[in-house]
Amino acid sequence: MELYRHSVRLDKGKCVGCTNCLKHCPTEAIRIRGGRAMILEDLCIDCGECIRVCQHHAKVAVSDPLSAINRFRYKIALPAPTLYGQFKNLTNASSVPSGLKRMGFDAVFDVARGAEIVSRAVAERLAQPDCPHPLISSACPAVLRLIQIRFPELIDNVVDVRSPMEAAATVARSEFCQEHGVRPEEVGCFFITPCPAKVTAIRNPIGHEKSAVDGAISMLEIYGLLSHQLRRGSVKNQDEQARLTALGLGWARSGGECACLGVEEALAVDGIENVSHVLEAIENDQLPDLRFFEGLACSGGCVGGPLTFENVYIARNRIRALVASLPKDPPTATVSEDLHEAMRPLIGFDRPVRTLESMKLDTDFKSALAKMDRIEEIVKKLPGLDCGSCGSPTCRALAEDIAAGDAKEMDCLFLLKDKVRAMAQQMIDISGQTRD
């Protein structure tokens, strides 16, 4: 099995072993061991909640430094739609591509355009008679991994279309090579990312073997440099402005994909807890009329990504204003028939999305039953306060860790206190029974 490389990591030197990240991890993928947080890689979905809540900035996302682009002779920037919501007084959207070029990129291809290409492909899937109900968006890699771990029964509902970032890289590279007569391997495509899950998705794509993207640079990393370039204004080039359209850019916000598809009976949900709740409802068949589900791990959508600079509400509002100023052509108009056809063999999945069995107590059903029995016994002894002091997120999680041999009952401070008290009483009793 291939090595899974997470983007979310721990900076040990900064971690004080508090329980903030432990209590907020939506997949219970964190433990505190030896006074430091530890990420259980099998359960981590790279959503970045821990990065947001850590007051000591000990949770970090490992992305590529800007200098990584120098590995390639030609460099293309793929800005996420979210980037356009990060700057004050962005009156001319074309100044963003201009700024990126001044930073060393040879070309800029908006992922918003990739989003339109994806939307056209997804709309085609939706129109097929055997389309699963509901079709689930594949855009957010954190949600995809959540489905792999917690909702394996819904894997077949995930649309087998790659993400906008992949579509953008594929088209950008091919256009650049054609235009300049260079070889594809000389061209590096770099995603300007709002989130760590995308960084992981480039290293370990879900649904396809290889990513067309060569690296991901965090928005925070380039924010200062780019905002400085933006103050210098845009170059006189109207081409790039004309390429950005409302529906593609709208993907930065929750609901953007649904709007781009233009289907009724579509539901957009943001925030990983909310997404989990609605996936539960889909699993229970509570939403039989739903045709499309867009789930985004971050509150507000990608504008709420942990690697963004601007507050999510402010960024959302900027995107809204920018969207209102742009032409609202549907993907059938913005993505030409030729491009749509050319992308057809490239945009689909080339391998199945696997079920991840990281939730299982044991691979053997009989052993799993025995462990569950033991867990229920231990849970009865624990105080049920879910305080996290033992280093596991809840009392139940501690019971599971004990059953797995990764923790001890005395890790619970309350059980320890009872034990100490009982021992103290024993000492008193013993001293009363001896001669002075």
Binding site: R150, E153, N284, M359, K366
Partner: protein
Amino acid sequence: MAVLKEVFPVAAEDFVSAGEASAQIKRLLKKLGVDGGVVRRISIASYEAEINLVIHSLGGQMELQVDEKEIVLIVSDVGPGIPNIELAMSEGYSTASDDVRMMGFGAGMGLSNMARNSDEFNIESREGSGTTIRMTFLLS
């Protein structure tokens, strides 16, 4: 040879916690590594059962029994009972109030959904005392 037995109480008209018992059951089955298709069927059936208890009964419980061969879900309540089971089993029949329908429940698919998703379905009801449903889901 029941190996694992868990009881989940469900309170009448408690819409705040409605769905929690079936969510716990689902989580437990996933932890055990029960086949996804079976988990899905139990999810649908247990959710319907739980909502039924909340809406129609005066309170009850769901008991989950798991062994290597099968999973049994016994849903029992104290309540008015079902006078005509055959009628209640027919799709679209519901005695739910308008208030409950406004919440999106009471489509009259509950019992038939439970029967459709389980491998064995057994219902016993006594008017004025309560209803017991026993659903079996075969493993492998």
